[in-house]
């Protein structure tokens, strides 16, 4: 059933987004600029790992119920069955990951990290709000739980965009540099993946709401939205930057080096 494969792919897309941005944010742990903020970003990383687990677990459940729909993935390898949250996170390779490119680009400085999180979580807030209407009650339930966390991420990261945008000359400049660098990855947020076929989804509406909120925050912060609008895309279809391979090499190393082990 094509719709089942679509739902599974879409769940993997959401799970991969959460896992990869969680990984990036967790890289700050122990290295943050302020102890309280180190705790905050680590906590955000933990939220994302939790979301990833929820989405992977649900995807695994559907995969195991409908194995013939999806066992052959894009690169032609057989997916490991039965699927688990860990087989999905640790035993797929770069071309099978469906995360947005914005989640995998390196952290850069604190301006880059907080701006990226802000732009992404405004998107997630809109997306998850639509998913509350998903016909699969499990997806709606995960979305509901995630919205609580994402609302806090929006607030926390927005505060940083304002603080840095309207802080010192240096912070403003760093924030502007970050905007120039990240902007090319924002267009991808609004390209509806082919497998995002759930009736509740409306990417045009997500984009409109996102534009409105982001412009308002940028204006308050005194930051400029770049005029050039080239869009880097491909993540949701498995076409990634070179960075993702390194993330996976690191993340998956134990599972790959010691296959079939319990941890």
């Amino acid at each position: 059933m094509a719709t089942m494969k679509n739902e599974i792919d879409f769940l993997l897309h959401l799970a991969d987004n959460a896992l990869i941005i969680g990984h990036r944010n967790s890289e700050w742990c122990g290295h943050g600029p302020i102890l309280e903020q180190d705790i905050a970003i680590t906590n955000i990383a933990l939220d994302y790992i939790g979301q990833a687990r929820n989405f992977y677990q649900h995807a695994a459940q559907l995969i195991n119920q409908h194995p013939t729909d999806i066992t052959i993935n894009q690169t032609g390898n057989n997916m490991v069955l039965p699927a688990t949250e860990d087989s999905l996170a640790y035993l797929r390779d770069v071309r099978e990951f469906k995360n947005l490119l914005i989640t995998e680009i390196p952290n850069g400085d604190w301006a880059y990290t907080t701006l990226r999180l802000y732009l992404l979580s405004e998107f997630e807030l809109q997306l998850f709000t639509q998913l509350l209407q998903h016909t699969d009650a499990q997806v709606a339930a995960i979305a509901e739980k995630s919205i609580k966390e994402v609302s806090y991420h929006v607030k926390w990261s927005q505060d940083w965009v304002l603080r840095l945008g309207d802080g010192t000359e240096e912070s403003k400049q760093r924030m502007q540099v970050a905007i120039e660098a990240i902007w090319a990855y924002t267009g991808e947020l609004f390209i509806q993946p082919d497998y995002a076929t759930a009736a509740c989804l409306n990417y045009a509406a997500i984009q409109a709401a996102w534009n409105k909120k982001v412009s308002a925050v940028f204006e308050e912060a005194g930051l400029n939205i770049p005029s050039k609008t080239f869009v880097q895309k491909g993540g949701p279809d498995g076409m990634h930057t070179e960075h993702l391979g390194y993330i996976l090499a690191e993340m998956q190393y134990l599972q790959r080096a010691y296959p079939n082990s319990e941890w």
Binding site: S26, G30, I39, T42, W263
Partner: protein, 313 residues
Amino acid sequence: MEQAFEQIFQDKIDREVRIEPKDWMPEKYRQTLIRQISQHAHSEIIGMLPEGNWITRAPSLRRKAILIAKVQDEAGHGLYLYSAAETLGISRDQMYDQLHTGKAKYSSIFNYPTLSWADMGVVGWLVDGAAIMNQVPLCRSSFGPYARAMVRVCKEESFHQRQGFEILYVLSKGTEAQRKMAQDAINRWWWPSLMMFGPKDDESPNSIQSMKWKIKRFSNDELRQKFVDVCAEQVKVLGFTLPDKDLKWNEERGHYDFGPINWDEFWQVVQGNGPCNKERLDARKKAWEEGAWVRDAALAYANKKAKQKQVAA
């Protein structure tokens, strides 16, 4: 006059009445506590690094989540402890400065590298375990803010210890390679863990005064012995061994005998020559220095907002 205060102070201590920040206290008591609490805070913060080292490589999502939460707890411990020390009249920035310039020490255990996943188990079991042994008595420290901070800290540390033990338990039931990984980690961490209790009693000059002030309740050697006795039993549950050929139950003493500690190694690490002293301190300094512009911006922004509020009012 001073003597009378001193008398009242010691009297309170003897009656187990907590000393609070506003109470009179001997300058030496204040300084000793600042040193002890700030070292402890620094240890929590530096301690985030060896375990943080494995967050991105944790072998399952569940383990990853537990590890992130644990390292975050350690940051929280640092936070309470810095706050407790601040009540004694030193600022967090001053304490950081002492850390970064090498004036303040932190627990030497964190100058050892975490080389395998099993280290996450052993650090929880032995390092958090030794920390608990040291810290439970501090919940009764004569200084109120420290004692209260330690109650929260100890609760979480015992979680950490159980989680660490559980990591090792799973490895012990795992493949040959996993068992080897775990035994190797135990071998590397055992002796440094014993050193966490500090020098032998006869070489620990500050201890007697600290005991009298009840900011220390048991001697280093007493606590070390207690730790050895507990671990010697727990390691049997795992089916691993502790790397000490002299470890043997002594019926007469009612304790385990154990082999000599390499105190030369201990002092080398204390003096900065451990395998990771430089990395650990450099990582903290880098975070601090690269964070300067962020802190400046946050401050400038807060000032701007406060001014705007004033104007508006």
